[in-house]
Symmetry: C2
Subunit: 338 residues, 2 copies
DNA sequence: CTGTTAGCGCGTTCAG
DNA sequence: CTGAACGCGCTAACAG
C-alpha cells in the first residue's frame, strides 16, 4: 500500500492537517516542524494521491478555458474532437473544459475572449495564439499573474508560455520533401501551397522544405511558393490558376483546404504527384481513389487532447510540463487505410 | 454539477444504499423499487463518478495480471514500457499491475504462470498467448469463470477473448509491400525475413505482402520467405547466408532482431533496399546512417498501455471494450527522427 | 428487503 | 501555530 498523509502524521507525531500544511507550503506552520515533516515525507517516498485530491477539490469547480480561432476548418474541427475527449476523461475529476470561439484571425476578438475566460475564473488557459502585439502582451501579463497558458497548434516567435503543443513544423517540411523526392524519382518541378504566412509554423515548414531540396542538390526544381487564402473557394481558384499557369509543375505539396485543393489538382488534368497535409475525410477519399499519393497528418485531435491534459496534470498534481510538446507527423499512404 | 447517488435517492425517496444496489444489480432489493430507481437514474442522466468509485474500492486491492512470453526482445521490452506507463497512471486508483514472465515459447510454463496469476486473485488477465491447445482451453475456461482476458500483441486463430490488442498484421504487410515497390521503383528481387510462423499474425503479414505483389503484377520478384530463429546470432547467420546465396536480392523486408539483421545486410556488401519492422534503437541508428530505408513501427508501448487501460476501464466503469483494438503501423523515414 | 454509517485520501474549515 | 472534524461520491458492512 502507498503511504498517506495519515501515515506521515503518525510517524511525525503531528496531525494530518499539519502534514498537509507542510507539504503544500500553506504557511501558518512552524518552520522547523514543516521541514521535519517534509523530510519524513521524502523518506517515506510519499506521493499525493491525485484521485483523492480530485475528489476533495471538486467543489472548487476548476475550469480550463480554451480560446480558439479559425473555425469551419477541417484541422480545428479535429482539434475540438481531441478537446472533447479530454473533457470526458477529466469530468469525473471535477474539472470542466470550456471552449471560447472567436472570429477567424481577429486579434481584438481573441483578446476579448481571453478576457471573458479570465473573468469566468479559468484556472488555466489554452490558446491558439494570433500573432499580434496585443495578444503577446496579454499573454505576458497573464503569465505574471500566475495563470498557466498553453499554446495549441500554433506558436509565437519569441513568446514563451507555460507549455506549447504543436507539430514539429520544420520536420514536417523535411518529411514532405523526402516523400516528394522519393515519389518523383528525384526530378521534376514542384509547387508548394501553404496557408497564411502570418503563422510562424507555416513559415518554418516551407523554409525547411526548401532547405532540404537545396541541400540534397537534387534535380527537383521548386517553381513557386503560393500562399492560400482562408476560404475554400479562393483556395480552389488560386490553386487551379497556378497549376495552369505553370504547366511544367508535376509535383505538389499542398497545405490548406484539402477538398478544394484536390479538386483543383484533378481539374488541371495532368498527373501530379501530391502530398497533402492533414488527414481530413477529403484527403482520405483522395488517397483511396489514387488522386493523391500521401497524406501527412499532424495529429490535430491529439494536440487538443494533450493541451488539456497538460493543464489537468498541473492542476491536479502541480506537474510542470515540458515547455514544448511535439506531436508526431504521421505518414499515410493508401495502404494505411484501405 | 453532475448528478450523484444522493440526488437520485432524494427524488426516488429511498436511501443511497438502495440506489447503489439498484444500479449495480447487487440483489437484496425489491424488483419494482430497483426498476423505478433505474429509470429515474436514466432520466436524470446519471453517470457514476469513477474517481469516487476508485477511492471507495481501493481497499479491495484489485490487480491486473500480465503474462508475457518472449523475453530479451526489443519489441517486448517496449511493450513493458507501455505496461509501466499504464501502471503509473492507475496506481492512484488503487489498481496494481503485476507482470508474470515465462520462458520463451513454452506453453507449459505459460499455463503455470496463468495459474499463478489466478491464484494471486487477479481481477483481469493480459496475455501474450502461445498457440497451444492447453492454453486455448485454459482461456476458454477462464472466460466461463468470468475473468476478463485480453490478448496482447498476438492473436490466436479462432479463439475469442474479452478483447485483443495488436497491430493490423495484414495491413502491415501491405504497407511494407507498397514501400518496397516505391523505393525499388517497382522492379528487382525481394526476400522476406520473418519471425516464427507459429504466430498467426506473422503468417498473416507475409501472406498479405505476397498478395499485394501478386495483385499489383509488378516486376518485383519474391525470391524467398525465410523464417528466423528467436536468437540474435542465429538471425545474423541465417540472414547473411541467405543474402549470399541469393545474390540477386536487392530488396529486403526484415522482421526480427533488427540489430542482427542490419549487421548481416551491411556485411553482405551490396546495396539493398530495406524495410524493417519495429523501431528499436538499432533501427533508429541504421535509419540515421542510411543503412535502411524505412522502419515500420507497430507501437509496442502503446499496445501494452492500451491492454492495461482496457481492463482498467472495465474494472472501474464496467466499460465493455471492442473485441479487437488495432494500433497503428507507423512509417518512419530518416527525416522523421533526425 | 432497506436505511445508516464508516471509511477511501485529501482539502478545508473551525476551534483552540 | 496546530488538531479535530467534516465533506467530495461511492462501496460495503451492519442494523433493522
Amino acid at each position: 500500500m502507498s503511504v498517506t498523509l495519515k501515515d506521515i502524521a503518525l510517524v511525525a507525531g503531528v496531525s494530518v492537517g499539519t502534514v498537509d500544511r507542510a507539504l503544500n507550503n500553506r504557511g501558518r506552520i512552524n518552520a522547523e516542524v514543516a521541514e521535519r515533516v517534509r523530510t519524513i515525507a521524502k523518506q517515506m517516498n510519499y506521493r499525493t494521491n491525485t484521485v483523492a485530491k480530485s475528489l476533495a477539490i471538486r467543489n472548487k469547480n476548476l475550469t480550463i478555458a480554451v480560446v480558439l480561432h479559425v473555425q469551419q476548418n477541417e484541422f480545428f474541427g479535429e482539434v475540438e474532437d481531441g478537446l472533447r475527449r479530454a473533457q470526458n476523461e477529466i469530468r469525473d475529476f471535477g474539472i470542466t473544459v470550456k471552449v471560447y470561439h472567436c472570429r477567424d484571425f481577429d486579434p481584438a476578438d481573441q483578446l476579448a475572449q481571453i478576457n471573458n475566460a479570465v473573468e469566468d475564473g479559468a484556472a488555466g488557459l489554452i490558446l491558439v495564439p494570433i500573432e499580434h502585439p496585443d495578444i503577446t502582451s496579454k499573454i505576458t501579463q497573464l503569465k505574471q499573474e500566475g495563470l498557466p497558458v498553453v499554446f495549441l497548434a500554433a506558436l509565437l516567435d519569441n513568446v514563451s508560455c507555460f507549455s506549447a503543443v504543436h507539430c514539429d513544423y520544420p520536420r514536417s517540411g523535411r518529411i514532405a520533401a523526402r516523400l516528394i523526392d522519393m515519389i518523383s524519382g528525384g526530378h521534376g518541378s514542384v509547387m508548394i501551397f501553404s496557408p497564411s504566412f502570418t503563422m510562424f509554423g507555416h513559415r518554418q515548414r516551407v523554409e525547411s522544405f526548401v532547405k532540404y531540396i537545396a541541400d540534397k542538390k537534387s534535380e527537383l526544381h521548386l517553381i513557386k511558393i503560393v500562399e492560400l487564402p482562408n476560404d475554400s473557394f479562393g483556395t480552389y481558384r488560386i490553386t487551379l490558376e497556378q497549376l495552369r499557369e505553370y504547366a511544367q509543375v508535376d509535383n505538389v505539396v499542398f497545405c490548406g483546404n484539402t477538398e478544394a485543393g484536390v479538386r483543383a489538382i484533378e481539374e488541371c488534368g495532368r498527373k501530379i504527384n501530391t502530398v497533402v497535409y492533414d488527414f481530413s475525410p477529403a484527403a482520405k477519399s483522395a488517397l483511396l481513389e489514387n488522386h493523391i499519393d500521401v497524406a501527412l497528418q499532424q495529429s490535430p485531435a491529439e494536440q487538443g487532447y494533450r493541451a488539456v491534459m497538460i493543464l489537468f496534470d498541473y492542476l491536479t498534481s502541480k506537474k510542470i510540463p515540458a515547455s514544448e510538446i511535439l506531436v508526431e507527423n504521421k505518414i499515410i499512404f493508401k495502404e494505411c487505410i484501405d
